[in-house]
């Protein structure tokens, strides 16, 4: 299933718009994602409670309550379709039966609403990357790894439409790199460790998904670029740094597509916009209507080229109106209604540009999601020939693009952010193009008790 991507999926910026992807994906109940319209993707999680065998009956009941509330409201609001994401808690992958049982509850509820009301629902099942439960993580063998694969297989067999995951290979180095705003190590973690792990694990995911009736959807640099985003939001690291990490993470997420994933990419992977530009696969994104899960600087712009519009995650806490998942689905449906109507009336590109322009000057993290910037950078990024070189190129291209935008007053950044552009530039400059050479240069600076080099084909 290995694919290579060496040119953009788009010829014109005008085609690069929400709801439409060159390679749409069709679900079991007939929902076409990327086929013209944008649909909601609803995610929910448990309220404060432990995931134990004793709690499983209650847990299943909570998921039932959430899915029923969400589907009921979707029907009431005449939503034509939606995707539900089941992001498993760690224990639900460590004990595959638990994840699979909940997976099946959701599959059945979706089928029931399709039969009764014609609602085209689909399920994205997202096991947790529990391989990091052991420290240092064993990425390619052992019981935990086997349970991850079993959970994927069981979810697919149980009827999930999509399999997604937030993999974390390379995080062992990346966390430290982030809090130290060390771009060299970020690029090592993403470009060598991350992309190698992605290739390995996504070939497995594609194989198991395909063999069991599900589609391999996509990954997210959540543990990398979103951690950077959160740190920047708290003022821990510069926004420009987080923005560069985002683009540096593209090649890592892209590796899933090279291994045969078909989309939709996972909601929290904002770098998905680059993957869409390069692969033509549809993507999920999250913005203002995911504020329940995390605040962000990309509330509107995140929707500009999205094919699914997500709330990221809510617990079923009770708000004044209803439980939070129902509140979320209502907000997402109204957002999608508006965007779809704009498109139908011929204002798709206009609306996309309003979404982009309304955010892009306030934060470099928003700026690098601009559709024009995405196509521009992607075009050059794919000229690099390996995942590692694309990671490095992504960082460099982002730095240059941001610098230019700052100079042209297209982005407003704090004075203290500015020196970081030079700092990062110098760091990237010094990174060799040869992976082995880079590994031997950097080895001495890494905490080698934190990861197992051989799990990343490093000696």
């Amino acid at each position: 299933m290995a694919k290579t991507f060496d040119k953009l999926a788009y010829n014109s910026l005008n085609d690069f718009v929400y709801g439409s992807a060159p390679n749409p994906v069709k679900t079991k109940h007939g929902l076409v994602i990327g086929g013209g319209a944008i649909y909601p993707e609803l995610n929910f999680t448990l309220p404060p409670m432990e995931v134990t065998a004793a709690n499983m009956p209650e847990i299943k009941q909570i998921y039932s309550e959430m899915i029923d509330g969400v589907l009921k409201r979707a029907v009431e609001l005449h939503a034509p379709g939606l995707v539900v994401e089941f992001e498993m808690l760690p224990e639900m992958t460590l004990v595959p039966e638990w994840g699979i049982e909940v997976n099946n509850i959701l599959v059945n509820a979706i089928a029931e609403y399709h039969a009764k009301y014609g609602l085209k629902g689909a399920l994205r099942s997202t096991p947790g990357d529990v391989r990091e439960f052991k420290r240092p993580p064993v990425q390619r063998s052992g019981e935990i790894y086997q349970n991850l694969l079993r959970t994927i297989e069981g979810s697919a067999k149980g009827g999930a439409d999509f399999i997604a995951i937030e993999t974390t290979g390379g995080k062992e180095v990346h966390d430290e790199a982030l809090v130290n705003a060390d771009l060299t190590k970020v690029i090592f973690a993403l470009g060598i460790m991350g992309t190698r792990d992605m290739k390995f694990i996504w070939e497995k995911i594609v194989e198991i998904s395909n063999a069991n009736g599900a589609q391999a959807a996509g990954d997210t640099a959540c543990g990398f670029a979103n951690t950077a985003m959160v740190l920047a939001h708290k003022g821990f690291i510069p926004n420009v740094f987080a923005a560069v990490v985002r683009v540096a993470s593209v090649a890592r997420t892209l590796a899933a597509y090279e291994a045969g994933a078909v989309g939709p990419n996972k909601d929290c992977g904002y770098e998905g916009v680059y993957c869409k530009a390069i692969t033509g696969s549809p993507i999920a994104m999250e913005g203002k209507s995911a504020a329940c899960a995390h605040l962000s600087a990309v509330g509107n712009i995140a929707a500009a080229v999205a094919d699914l519009w997500s709330n990221e995650s809510v617990t079923n806490v009770r708000l004044l109106s209803d439980i939070a998942p129902v509140v979320s689905i209502e907000q997402l449906i109204y957002d999608c209604r508006l965007m779809n109507l704009a498109k139908e009336k011929g204002y798709g590109v206009t609306f996309r540009d309003l979404l982009a322009d309304s955010d892009s000057k306030w934060d470099p993290q928003a700026y690098v999601l601009r559709p024009d910037v995405v196509l521009d950078i992607s075009k050059d990024l794919i000229k690099a020939k390996t995942p590692f070189l694309r990671t490095k190129a992504g960082a460099k291209l982002a730095i240059d693009k941001i610098r230019k935008a700052v100079d042209n007053n297209e982005i407003i950044i704090a004075e203290r952010e500015k020196p970081w552009l030079d700092i990062m530039d110098n760091q990237v400059e010094a990174i060799p193009d040869d992976e082995e050479k880079f590994w031997h240069e950097i080895k001495g600076e890494l905490e080698l008790d934190k990861f197992i080099p051989s799990e990343y084909e490093l000696k």
């Binding site: 404060p48 409670m49 432990e50 982030l178 809090v179 130290n180 060390d182 003022g235 821990f236």
Partner: protein
């Protein structure tokens, strides 16, 4: 001797310079505890203030912490031999079932920068492990981190484990993490909630000051 230079070297994160000045000060018979408090710990307070005022980022703070550590390495043997103790001891970890460690690590580094002796149990830590280590090192603080709604209830299990062992009152619990809140801390009978690493330092200092 003017310890201001030492403070500035810490603030700038210049480890080599810090070592040099500490050695010089010792040679000039400045008391080790004065070097520690006026030169090193106060410098970290200044850095913490700057962080709160959006003047520095965490990486800069961490460089200062490292510089301070360089000074501590010189100082520690002398402090020990003269009977000067660390201002406090803390056990820290992310609770069972939870893999998030970036926030926990930041707290550890910041508390260490404040002069507290840190024992990091890592992630996925059981109540028994917290209890054993806290008793072993006679910790002042037990710091619990959780980032999932499904692991935060385990914080309560940790507190209960200490109760069961009859040693609850010997320790002060500080908890933190995205889903955690002041009122949650109250509800599980933890002592304090800290919003982030910088707040954690303030809280820890307050607790240790009260203990004196």
């Amino acid at each position: 001797m003017d310890l201001n230079q030492l403070s500035l070297a810490v603030q700038k994160g210049n480890a080599a310079k810090v070592k040099e000045i500490v050695n010089e000060a010792l040679a000039q018979k400045v008391s080790p505890s004065e070097i520690l408090n006026t030169g090193l710990i106060d410098a970290m307070s200044v850095v913490g203030e700057k962080f709160k005022n959006n003047e520095v980022y965490v990486p800069e703070m961490l460089m200062s912490a490292k510089a301070m550590n360089a000074g501590m390495q010189v100082l520690e043997p002398i402090l020990t031999s003269t009977g000067v103790k660390p201002i406090g001891k803390a056990v820290i970890g992310t609770v069972k079932g939870d893999l998030h460690d970036i926030g926990k690590n930041l707290v550890r580094m910041m508390l260490k920068g404040a002069g507290i002796e840190m024992y990091d149990l890592g992630i996925d830590v059981t109540a028994e492990a917290f209890l054993a280590k806290a008793k072993e090192v006679q910790a002042d603080l037990v710091c619990l981190s959780a980032l999932l709604t499904t692991t935060m209830p385990y914080m309560e299990s940790v507190v209960k484990e200490f109760e069961k062992a009859g040693v609850r009152d010997q320790f002060t619990f500080v908890i933190g993490g995205a889903p955690v809140s002041e009122s949650y801390a109250k509800s599980i009978k933890a002592d304090y909630y800290a919003d982030d690493a910088v707040v954690a330092v303030d809280v820890a200092k307050k607790i240790l000051a009260q203990k004196k």
